[in-house]
């Protein structure tokens, strides 16, 4: 298993990092909080730690720490537009249920 992202998501990551001027890639993670137990972390990664897993996809890197990988394995990250709003979207097969807005989830 691995973590992947769509062409659209990879392009966005590359653009954002270029505009920001630094960054190794996109760090995805999971931490406990939120109304349904766990919440996603979506951040710029400035450095890669020894136990990080790195996935390269359409020319952009996704970096995930070993602990978070349990909850994220098999995830495909997409970039979509819903109405006027746009952003990254997790297609995570590990999720059993999530809160109404989808910002936090349970596995």
């Amino acid at each position: 298993m691995a973590i992947t992202m769509t062409q659209a998501a990879a392009e966005r990551v590359r653009n954002f990092i270029e505009k920001r001027g630094k960054g190794e890639g996109l760090r995805l993670g999971v931490r406990t909080s939120g109304c349904s137990g766990k919440a996603y972390v979506v951040e710029y990664a400035d450095k890669i730690e020894p136990d990080d897993h790195v996935y390269e996809c359409h020319g952009a890197k996704i970096i995930v720490d070993a602990k978070s990988l349990i909850y994220l394995d098999g995830t495909e990250l997409d970039y979509t537009r819903e109405g006027l709003n746009e952003g990254f979207k997790f297609n995570n097969p590990n999720v059993k249920d999530s809160c109404g807005c989808g910002e936090s989830f349970n596995t």
């Binding site: 760090r27 919440a39 710029y44 006027l84 709003n85 249920d97 989808g102």
Partner: protein, 631 residues
């Protein structure tokens, strides 16, 4: 499903606590809203991809006013109800407006306060209310795009705005339901947008020639901290004046009389602006003017003719530049960089003049229309706490000196102009008559020596001074200006400790009744907003519960007898129906009912799971001290 934005390392917000704050450039001609998303500041477009919102409000006899492009498109057909450039009227008294009024096609009335009002088909409207319509429109756009309710904003104002104008801008934000994190000087915002703070040090000039105002600011950067050294400008000079100059030229050329109607003046201004913009690229612009009664006038405007018309206006920017340099105590060649702001700086002639004056090519990489909003968004992002490492500290200055009236109608300046704010200063005064028990404190603003030449901001009395011989009392008067440039003044008699103070309510003032009415309106809407949010929260709760119950039924439905199952399914149906409606209390009740109906079921599922887990094992096999594993 939620959509995510990228955060800085370690800064991912807690679910449901993501905070956005916007930067708003409330301009004379156009307004913009910008926001930092995924670490990048961008202006936010409308559904049609347009970033600029024309600062034009059209009032209709019924319904909500129309704001922006749609209002501007019909401005020339309905000039009296279509208000443009309202920023010029912000915080102005009736006398100021009477002078401006000659060049503005509106009908003014005197309200029950000193603030002028404009007569429209929807009733009389104050400049504050009209500005609020523009802010509401931008707020709505940001809320739709960001998917969360936006209430915090940094709003930019010209550096030249006095206290009354700043307060009027804050009032407009309040009416629009926005919390002003900070009023930021436009040039300061532009410097932030260019990231000039990344330099180790330097002196920068910001040349801002917008639609209605000109500002020149000199900023000193030292160890990542901006200090505004000096500001100068002209609050009634900009691209609009160029349009007027061109329109007047067309009138002379086409033989249109001075008594042209409001509608015709609007058409002329529109044609003049189009010709001016075309001449940024082209050498000549054709003109077709409708004279009415089926007659037309055809002509053209050449670039050098345009320059002849606008050169005197561009020239008027030079003396504020000199004044700012003089105040800052530097020469033009000591400036390390010049930033261009405002749509009018696209005109090649303006760029020529600026390079000539400062002896260097100006920076113009960022769209001069968007640069201020972008800087404001960056500042808003810092103020709301989304940045941890890069603390951005900005020092602003007050545009005009603040002082007191002393004997003989003279002004004693307490805080000189261009003092960095926030600031507090105090000075001791005394009585001038034996046995004097009261002192009138008159706060004025301006550079002149006589009170009659300065602007009166407030008056208040300090009473209860113990009777003493003249000159014996010590009365300490303190001036305090907060980060938004708003002033409060207090006076304290040192021996008895009697005290009196005033928060300066600028003399253009809204009356209490007017403020109360506007607040009441915003409260009315607050009620609706709150009800809508409660309903949405209940619906989310309902969806989660229904989902959980349905999956439990699929997994362990066998644990229920027919009657129990029917009870739960009835509860589900009730909740589903309530959830589709908009009665918050009904949803809440149905959630509670379903919750109760499923209690026995939940209990049985738990027993069943424990029974399954324990089957075939001995108790000793379980290490009871082990932590409960995560679900």
């Amino acid at each position: 499903m939620a959509l995510f934005q990228i955060s800085e390392p370690g800064q991912t917000p807690t679910p449901h606590e993501r905070r956005y704050a916007v930067g708003i450039d409330l301009g004379t001609t156009n307004s913009l809203v910008a926001c930092v998303r995924s670490g990048v500041a961008e202006t936010l477009p409308d559904e049609q991809g347009r970033h600029l919102l024309p600062s034009v409000v059209r009032y209709l006899s019924q319904g909500e006013p129309v704001v922006g492009h749609d209002a501007m498109a019909v401005a020339h057909e309905d000039p009296l109800n279509t208000i443009a450039s309202v920023k010029r009227l912000m915080g102005r008294g009736i006398e100021d407006v009477r002078q401006l009024g000659k060049s503005l096609p509106y009908e003014f009335t005197r309200g029950d306060s000193a603030m002028p009002r404009l007569r429209t088909v929807a009733g009389e409207r104050s400049p504050v209310e009209i500005s609020a319509e523009i802010l509401k429109k931008l707020k709505k756009r940001a809320t739709e795009i960001l998917g969360v309710d936006i209430s915090d904003a940094v709003i930019t104002v010209p550096a030249y705005f006095d206290d009354a104008q700043r307060q009027a801008t804050k009032d407009a934000a309040c009416v629009a339901g926005l919390n002003v994190l900070r009023l930021l000087n436009e040039p300061t915002a532009a410097a932030i947008a260019y990231g000039l703070d990344k330099n180790p040090q330097g002196i920068f000039a910001v040349y801002d020639l917008g639609g209605g105002t000109f500002d020149i600011s000199l900023l000193r950067l030292n160890r990542g901290v901006f200090e505004v050294m000096a500001t100068a400008g002209d609050s009634a000079l900009g691209g609009d004046d160029m349009d007027h100059a061109v329109a007047e030229w067309i009138m002379r050329a086409a033989g249109i009389q001075d008594d042209a109607g409001h509608r015709q003046i609007r058409c002329l201004l529109r044609d003049a602006r189009a010709a001016k913009e075309a001449l940024t690229q082209a050498e000549r612009a054709p003109l077709h003017i409708d004279l009415g009664h089926g007659k037309n006038w055809r002509g053209e405007l050449k670039r050098d003719q345009l320059y002849a018309l606008i050169d005197p206006l561009i020239e008027r920017t030079v003396s504020p530049c000199k004044r700012a340099l003089r105040d800052a105590g530097i020469r033009a060649n000591e400036v390390d960089g010049v930033v261009l702001v405002g749509g009018a700086t696209r005109i090649p002639r303006v760029r020529e003049k600026v390079s000539q004056f400062f002896g260097r090519e100006p920076l113009a990489d960022i769209d001069p229309d968007k640069v201020v909003a972008i800087g404001a968004a960056l500042q808003a992002d810092v103020l709301i706490g989304n940045k941890r490492d890069e603390e951005m500290l900005l020092l602003d200055v007050i545009p005009l000196s603040l002082g007191l009236e002393i004997m003989g109608g003279m002004v004693e300046k307490i805080i000189p102009r261009n003092t960095t704010i926030p600031v507090a200063k105090a000075q001791d005064f005394t009585t001038y008559k034996d046995g004097q028990t009261a002192l009138l404190i008159h706060v004025v603003q301006g550079e002149r020596e006589l009170v009659s030449d300065c602007r009166s901001l407030a008056r208040f009395e300090l009473r209860g001074i113990p009777p003493m011989t003249a000159g014996a009392a010590r009365i300490r008067v303190s001036f305090q200006i907060d980060a938004d440039g708003l002033l409060s003044v207090s006076a304290r008699e040192q021996t008895m400790g009697v005290e009196s103070s005033v928060a300066v309510k600028p003399s253009y003032g809204l009356t209490d009744n007017e403020i109360e009415r506007m607040l009441r309106e915003s409260i009315t809407h607050a009620g609706e907003d709150d009800a809508a949010r409660k309903l949405r929260e209940q619906q989310v709760d309902a969806d989660r519960l229904m989902e959980a119950v349905r999956s439990a039924l699929t997994a362990d439905g066998a644990l229920l007898n027919i009657v129990e199952r029917e009870g739960i399914e009835h509860g589900l149906k009730e909740l589903q129906a309530a959830r589709e409606g908009n009665d918050y209390a009904r949803v809440k009740q149905a959630v509670k009912a379903l919750d109760q109906a499923t209690q026995t079921f939940a209990q049985r599922r738990m027993d069943e799971n424990i029974r399954k887990a324990l089957a075939g094992h001995k108790l000793e096999e379980f290490d009871m001290s082990r932590d409960k594993s995560p679900s």
